[in-house]
Symmetry: C2
Subunit: 216 residues, 2 copies
């Protein structure tokens, strides 16, 4: 399999963490798409992913799978033993709800803030900006952090008792928050303690360097 | 199970169609949440779904599952024989990608247009609007229709050879387009032909009236 991504990107992080959690590192090659040159908005890449976003997974048969949730579903199903997306109906429902909520209320909101209310990827890539909308989304993301803090006071992981795709999505949100220098509110102690635990996981800790050539 | 929704809503339609496709009608009770009175933004409902959106599924044990994709995952897994969300890793990946793409490029974009660039649910509910962003999203949705038209020229259903959650999401988009009077472009013949076929399915045709009391 081949993954098109940008090593330090927050959305790429979601798939890199999933690859590591599923012990699939040896079956994946990474190819960098230069975000700051806007390569993800050029026709060549848009043919792979209409939405022009990273990451994208390419299968051996040439099929392209975009969207982190979709890629995670694919990777998690490969060995017939899902550990990230749930086994029972209730687990599947809860994990998908909390992961989507983490996108809506935090990760995607921070992305809109970055692309619309900061210089983002630079003037050549950010050809349309709506700063008012961007700031609105920043405020939404800060409230999202408070929401997930409340969730993590109640149970050890975002969707309940075990690590899942929903944790990975919140991790993506906090990675993006770090990049754009949105600090987690001080009172969000449960969220901060959980994030410190998450950063101890090898899948999270080694995500950026995992694509360095290992058979050099 | 109980479903909180609004009978004619485009997002509620996604779950109503899934319920019917899975033959679960007899196991579900519907409760109306009045969108035009903004009941979905009041504390009582926000305690059920932080994001303040419909529909929400309530399980017998009091668990709330929000987000259409999450509810569909739950419903589709109940009988151990998924028909909407894919069986193989590749099917799961493709269906989730195309469903998410239908949200991003059409359904959610039309929703933003409705809430930001039209009177939406009225001045008491739409307390913040960003019309410029709304019109941008309308244009994105029109391009989304052209994209899905191209997809449906290549294969009979949105994610390939069989009906799936991805079709349901595009149906949700076209239901919303109809409500806000955004016409499908004339040249989108494959999309229109597919939609005509979809409207013949009992799950789609009877979605609004399915919540009328049947054991009266």
């Amino acid at each position: 399999m081949k993954i098109y991504d940008w090593p330090t990107g927050p959305y790429p992080a979601r798939v890199r963490i999933a690859v590591a959690e599923k012990n699939l590192r040896s079956r994946v090659r990474f190819e960098t798409v230069n975000l700051f040159k806007g390569e993800h908005k050029k026709p060549d890449f848009l043919a792979k992913n209409y939405s022009g976003t990273l990451p994208v997974l390419e299968l051996a048969d040439g099929t392209f799978i975009a969207e982190c949730t979709a890629i995670t579903e694919y990777l998690d199903a490969l060995d017939g033993a899902p550990t990230l997306t749930g086994k029972t109906p209730r687990e599947k429902g809860m994990i998908h709800m909390m992961s989507k909520r983490a996108e809506l209320e935090m990760l995607d909101a921070i992305s809109v803030y970055f692309h619309h209310a900061t210089p983002g990827l630079g003037p050549d890539v950010e050809i349309y900006q709506n700063a008012e909308w961007g700031f609105r989304q920043r405020d939404k993301a800060m409230n999202g952090m408070r929401y997930f803090n409340a969730v993590l006071k109640r149970h050890p992981f975002v969707a309940g008792e075990v690590f899942s795709m929903a944790d990975i999505t919140v991790i993506g949100g906090l990675i993006f928050a770090g990049l754009v220098k949105l600090p987690v509110p001080e009172e969000c102690e449960a969220l901060q303690a959980w994030y410190a635990r998450m950063q101890e996981r090898p899948s999270v800790k080694n995500r950026v360097t995992m694509s360095d050539p290992i058979e050099a």
